[in-house]
């Protein structure tokens, strides 16, 4: 059961990483990056490193995601103005 979970986690990590890089739309790439960060924190927890998992979830997925979304919003508004 845990092996199946780990395998699924590893596969979805690689899949979300690939989709993050390959998707042509910026907003989707950002959301996929957040998904990747959350999966990564799960992986850290499975590797018995909950400290890094907590930091990854809070900083990697949460704050970086918010910063990227904010930057995307500014970019879109600038593009719409001229």
């Amino acid at each position: 059961m845990t092996f199946a979970f780990d395998l699924l986690l590893a596969l979805s990590l690689v899949w979300s990483a690939w989709r993050t890089l390959a998707t042509p739309r910026l907003d989707r790439a950002i959301v996929l990056f957040i998904v990747f960060g959350l999966l990564m924190s799960l992986a850290w927890a499975r590797l018995a490193a909950p400290d890094i998992g907590l930091a990854e979830a809070a900083i990697g997925a949460g704050l970086t995601g918010a910063l990227l979304l904010d930057a995307y919003g500014v970019l879109r508004r600038r593009r719409a103005e001229p």
Binding site: D51, L54, A58, I59, G62, L63, A66, G73, V74
Partner: protein, 220 residues
């Protein structure tokens, strides 16, 4: 045809690289330096019972001191770049979203304090607590309850620098006793909690500032 050859060449090279990496990983020898035993042996004198916190704030406190310095420097660089524009009025979000944020923010503060306290004996600590506090501030900002910061006033400046200054003061105080950041075992627990509390406040302000100082440019 030429393109196909190129793609095949790149693919072959990439596969060869993957094979080389995999073989290198399989041939990894035993770890040269195993620090787990010494860390466990000296845990009693470190002032905390969680090995990760002991490493971060006692054995390798120097690294953490420089880390907070780097974060502070990053925020100062951002402040230097964005200048001092007036903060735009924040747009109010949907009332349901606002109500949710109002409910979530106090809970996040409680979680942050718990993480700070739990850092001494289980996973947690200043960085995670600070990040949760910063996330609460960002959430309130995104729903329009907390305006973006226009220019750092005195209180905010003190808050931003407090963690680093406190850490530095403790380090300098210990320097007179012997060597840098070598806590006396009796006072180690209190000193670590003091440093971590300062770090939590400063980290929360710095991480939140990354977004709140930048977002004021939005309407420009």
């Amino acid at each position: 045809m030429k393109r196909m050859l190129l793609v095949a060449l790149v693919l072959t090279l990439a596969l060869a690289f993957v094979a080389a990496l995999a073989s290198a990983m399989l041939e990894l020898g035993p770890v040269a330096v195993d620090l787990r035993a010494p860390v466990a042996a000296h845990l009693a004198e470190s002032g905390v019972t969680h090995p990760v916190t002991a490493v971060l704030l006692n054995y390798r406190g120097y690294d953490t001191l420089l880390e907070i310095a780097v974060l502070l420097l990053a925020l100062l660089a951002i402040l230097a770049v964005v200048g001092e524009a007036p903060a735009p009025p924040s747009r109010a979000a949907h009332p349901v979203l606002q109500a949710l944020a109002r409910l979530a923010a106090p809970l996040m503060i409680v979680v942050a304090v718990y993480l700070l306290w739990a850092g001494a004996f289980r996973p947690g600590g200043a960085f995670q607590a600070g990040a949760v506090l910063a996330a609460a501030a960002v959430l309130l900002h995104l729903v329009g309850l907390l305006p973006g910061w226009s220019r750092p006033r005195l209180g905010l400046r003190i808050g931003l620098a407090a963690g680093f200054a406190l850490f530095l003061a403790v380090a300098a105080g210990l320097l007179t006793q012997g060597s840098l950041l070598q806590y006396p075992p009796a006072a180690a627990g209190v000193l670590i909690l003091l440093i971590e509390s300062g770090l939590t406040v400063s980290l929360a302000l710095i991480l939140a500032g990354l977004l709140l100082f930048l977002s004021r440019e939005e309407e420009a």
